[in-house]
Subunit: 202 residues, 2 copies
């Protein structure tokens, strides 16, 4: 198996768990936060800041400016966002060239377009994702209302970021080889057969 | 394996071939045109006519009427469409209750909603589907232009029919468990591992 497996995922769908287990089952590398760590090192920005840039829509980090006076700041932020994206692109391409791996998020499917990655998208019903998000405590939420807001917000930002850089619609099945619905599915049960399938597919 | 596997598919994506091969690999029944045959017998309408009703949007068979004079005809056609749909629904439910099978098209996924079928959607790039349609000669097309028109037209009608009866968006990944992109894929190569995956999944 030579192709990188990329995983796009809706927040709360278990895409990260699926990716991690898939990499384990296939005995290959798994990259998720590791990419951010590497970008942070590469750009000497903090991991936290890099995370914010990557998970937010590209414009979100720009200050609201009035008149000419802020144009320097605006330019500064824009350059940071661009340099993070540039560093990320290089790191993702380097990692993909080294060895087969599973890469979660970061628009890796679009970045690696020319290398023909196997592109998976993981999704689920909205209510299921809210429930999963609350049960798993992946993020600190105090109420269902807050979990719903978070699921909506994070996906909206992922979509904006992805679409800004890839010029493709995030989650549109046409840009993926396989789309997996995880609603009411026990992820660890489906990963072994999925891995078997991918071995032959790749 | 107890769940029926339903296959929705874009025209020219090879969904029917995938379904047939999948049923073979799993050693279960395969229903496609057989459903239409059964509906035709059940309703004493010709297979050809039933096919037209099923593959067209529900309104397509209604004559354009002006005033009161055509209301009897209108009503007559509407009743035929409804009786075909009713017969089809019963036949699909009967077949699903008998034994596990692969069912292609006919909105079977929505009809069997309460029986929890495993819902696959097969799709591909538009250009690939046009190419496949011309190569396979699945339908008599004399030019690329005609093939393009046909791919568009058939999918538009499938979508209308599906959406009219199911109240779900045709091809929207949320209504399927697995969406498979067949662009540049050799279907017979991916079916054996897919069958392995489904054995564990179902």
């Amino acid at each position: 198996m030579k192709r990188t497996i990329t995983i796009g995922r809706e927040f709360g769908s278990g895409g990260r768990e699926l990716g991690r287990r898939l990499a384990e089952a296939l005995g290959i590398e798994y990259y998720d936060k590791e990419i951010i760590d590497a970008v942070a090192k590469h750009t000497s920005l903090s991991e936290d800041y890099v995370h914010k840039i990557i998970d937010r829509k590209p414009h979100a980090l720009f200050p609201i400016t009035v008149g000419q006076s802020m144009s320097y700041m605006e330019n500064y932020y824009f350059q940071q966002v661009q340099s993070v994206y540039q560093a990320q692109t290089e790191i993702i391409k380097d990692l993909a060239a080294k060895a087969p791996s599973v890469m979660v998020g970061r628009g890796a499917d679009a970045i690696l377009k020319d290398e023909n990655p196997f592109r998976i998208f993981v999704y689920a019903d909205f209510d299921y994702r809210v429930k999963r998000c609350m049960e798993r405590k992946e993020a600190p939420v105090s109420s269902e209302k807050e979990a719903k807001r978070m699921v909506n917000e994070i996906d909206k930002n992922r979509a904006k970021y992805y679409e800004f850089y890839s010029n493709q619609r995030w989650g549109d099945k046409l840009y993926y080889d396989l789309c997996i619905n995880t609603t009411d599915v026990v992820i660890k049960d489906i990963v072994p057969p999925l891995a078997e399938m991918l071995k032959a597919y790749l």
